[in-house]
């Protein structure tokens, strides 16, 4: 059993919860390697996957996780175009309340929406990403991925590179990594950072070359140049010079170091075309492993929220 009913922020989980999730993820990872990949654990349970923001990756990952546990999974892709967002949320909530479901997994583009939902319904809730706030299951699967490569979290040097300001992944990951004793450095630029960095409590450099030789893990964040509220970054060329991973930098990285990304990677921005093509040959390249681990970790989480009763 976990100590919390809802998982909105990574801070909702205790260290015991996190360890429990990691242990269970190991067992479920083993299930995923079997020929018959399904366990009957959650037969009869109903889960809703409610996505107000399009995401193939996370939605599918939750869906597979639920199905492998034999739960009934209903995908509910709410359209936000025709209605005002707020109204559609209230309406959807009413529908959900009347459906007697066991778990709600939700994603929405507004920060804090999960706090609003949790205050209005009784069903346990997993935050699958809310605006620029939190993405706790991403942080858990990232931690699990790191755990599989290193003996101990303590003292691991992690660099998180890119758009911290607009990233829910950064908010969840940095908090979790710090809690597990890792040494976090933010590699970014002022226009991609909050004015006040106190919350992140991390080192900060503006040039990836300053840390590339020292780090154990390079975590790249997605950089969306097309978003209006991100218009202050000068160009992709500038980004490539200071914040991207290219072949030259890859070669400088320590033996055994990891490259991670929450996906989808925008080739040529965060990671160069060359590196992407070479990735298969490099064992430290974990972007696809993260996806597989995501299913195991989400199975563990859903199981711990629903199955142990």
């Amino acid at each position: 059993m976990l100590s919390t009913k809802n998982i909105i922020s990574i801070d909702d989980l205790s260290i015991d919860d996190i360890n429990l999730i990691m242990e269970n993820a190991d067992s479920f990872y083993e299930v995923l390697g079997r020929e018959f990949k399904k366990v009957p654990t959650l037969r009869g349970k109903t889960i809703i996957n409610l996505f107000f923001e399009s995401s193939t990756r996370t939605r599918t990952s939750f869906e597979i996780a639920a199905k492998r546990l034999s739960a009934d999974m209903i995908n509910f892709s709410a359209s936000t175009s025709s209605l005002k967002k707020g109204e559609s949320i209230i309406d959807t909530l009413k529908t959900i309340q009347s459906m007697m479901i066991d778990l709600l997994i939700m994603r929405h583009s507004d920060s804090g929406v999960m706090n609003f939902i949790a205050g209005n319904i009784d069903v346990p809730l997993i935050n699958a990403g809310d605006g620029k706030h939190q993405h706790p299951t991403q942080a858990l699967l990232d931690l699990y991925t790191i755990k599989k490569s290193f003996k101990d979290f303590k003292g691991l040097k992690v660099a998180i590179a890119g758009d911290i300001l607009n990233s829910r992944v950064a908010r969840s990951d940095i908090k979790l990594f710090k809690r597990m004793g890792m040494d976090v450095t933010i590699v970014s630029a002022p226009m991609l950072l909050p004015e006040n960095l106190e919350y992140f409590d991390s080192n900060y450099v503006y040039d990836i070359d300053k840390i590339i030789e020292d780090i154990d893990i390079l975590y790249m964040l997605r950089m969306q140049f097309e978003r209006q509220d991100r218009k202050y970054y000068p160009s992709i060329k500038e980004y490539n010079r200071f914040l991207s991973l290219n072949m030259e930098r890859l070669k400088k990285m320590k033996r055994g170091s990891l490259i991670m990304h929450a996906g989808p990677v925008i080739r040529g921005i965060e990671i160069s075309e060359n590196v992407m093509n070479y990735a298969e040959n490099y064992s430290g390249f974990k972007i696809n492993t993260q996806v597989t681990n995501g299913v195991a970790v989400r199975m563990a989480l859903i199981y711990l929220m629903l199955g142990s009763t």
Partner: protein, 434 residues
């Protein structure tokens, strides 16, 4: 009892306006006029319908003036109207209000000023219309400032918006200075507040809410101080929210610029750590800022830099607040908590003198607006708020009589309760729970 204009206030602690002293006294009101302020007034022979209010444990204040109120009429009467707004005001001990022009349509023509004034007379409540500075609040073309003044506007403002065109702002200042009316300025540089949802600081970073830098306010205050100096205009900065703004205003005052300012009770009471719950009632513009900013506002009150406290009463119907933080409308209602919240924070917690608070709610705003301040003086029409300062109550949504219930103070324990309000010489409100 309600509606009576022959009243004896018995043994209240009176804030006498001429001396500024607190004295335990009776006040006799006949036909709405204050006839005597004395101990143990002998009422033998005075008309039988005299209403006697026993006020041994209560304070007797002049009716308060709220210089920043959104009444939503015309156009959004489902949120508030002039009638419901004035009832909420009276319940908060307020007997005069200035209403902002961002209605639908905005108050940018004479007939709209006339409309508000005629309603005000009809319900016998003092409402002072503030007219728009720019047509349709678009920040593009000046309104008929002279004609609007003649119609009865007492100040000009584009509140809710800020004129970004500096030349237009300068021309408005020069022209308004002919008519000696204050410009009430909502200061916001949009390039710094675009997309913003919360004060830019620790909590916006934590909560993933786009930040609004204090620069948004401070840059425009700096600009307007320069423009006002050149134009010789009288400017009033409303709902000042940041420490930097206070410094700018203080220096401008010292330099002899005709500048005044107000703060809201919510900026004095809350800091941005309260946003952790994503409570949409705390979504206001300018945003609730850091504890450092809040403290600077409180110190500015002690130092005499702040000229008034005003509520920025902004009613919104349920659906506009019962949604995500991003989608929620800006604003909190504030008429019914104007005194309570200010009193609780400033007098009870920060140990600021009660007389100072009363001045910021009466003579302060009256002077800015150049209107007669309600005063407890023989010969004056009675505008009086009688308050139990010891009462302490948790604020509940259902307790508000404003049409909208979006109060930032819901859930807070606040001191004091208005027991009676006498408005325009008549007993208009009796709090039955006191």
């Amino acid at each position: 009892m309600i509606g009576s204009d022959n009243i004896l206030i018995k043994s209240g602690t009176v804030f006498e306006s001429s001396s500024g002293k607190e004295i335990v006294s009776d006040i006799l009101i006949q036909n709405g006029i204050i006839r005597a302020i004395e101990k143990n007034i002998n009422v033998e022979g005075i008309s039988k319908d005299l209403v006697v209010l026993n006020c041994q444990n209560y304070f007797v204040f002049p009716g308060f003036v709220d210089m920043h109120v959104h009444l939503r009429e015309p156009g959004n009467e489902e949120e508030e109207d002039i009638g419901s707004g004035s009832r909420a005001a009276v319940r908060g001990g307020i007997t005069s209000i200035a209403c902002m022009p961002n209605t639908n349509p905005p108050v940018d023509r004479e007939y709209l000023v006339n409309y508000i004034l005629s309603k005000s007379r009809l319900i016998d409540f003092k409402i002072y219309p503030v007219a728009a500075m720019s047509k349709n609040l678009e920040g593009k073309k000046m309104t008929e400032i002279g004609l609007l003044k003649e119609a009865g506007a007492i100040a000009f403002s584009d509140d809710g918006k800020c004129i970004q065109d500096s030349k237009l702002m300068y021309e408005i200042m020069k022209y308004a200075s002919h008519f000696d009316l204050p410009l009430i300025l909502h200061e916001e540089d949009y390039s710094f507040s675009n997309y913003g949802l919360a004060h830019e600081g620790y909590y916006s970073a934590k909560l993933g809410l786009d930040g609004i830098s204090p620069f948004a306010e401070e840059l425009m205050i700096s600009r307007d101080i320069m423009l006002a100096k050149m134009a010789g205009a009288k400017i009033h900065i409303t709902h000042v929210s940041s420490k930097g703004s206070i410094t700018l205003i203080k220096r401008a005052k010292e330099a002899g610029i005709k500048i005044t300012c107000d703060v809201t009770p919510h900026h004095l009471y809350f800091n941005d750590s309260f946003l952790e719950s994503y409570d949409t009632n705390l979504k206001v513009n300018p945003p609730i800022r850091s504890e450092e900013d809040r403290k600077a506002l409180v110190s500015a009150i002690s130092e005499g830099i702040i000229d008034a406290i005003a509520s920025d009463h902004a009613p919104h119907f349920e659906a506009e607040k019962n949604t995500t933080f991003k989608d929620a409308a800006n604003g909190t209602i504030g008429l019914e908590t104007l005194f309570k919240a200010s009193y609780t924070k400033l007098v009870r917690e920060e140990k600021i003198k009660l007389s100072k608070l009363v001045a910021l709610l009466t003579t302060g705003p009256a002077k800015i607006l150049n209107i007669k301040a309600p005063a407890i003086k023989v010969g004056n029409k009675a505008d009086i708020a009688i308050i139990d300062l010891e009462k302490n109550k948790k604020i509940k949504k259902e307790d508000f009589c404003s049409k909208s219930k979006n109060s930032a103070f819901i859930g807070q324990n606040l001191y004091s309760e208005v027991v009676y309000t006498i408005n325009n010489g008549r007993l208009e409100f009796i709090n039955k729970s006191c």
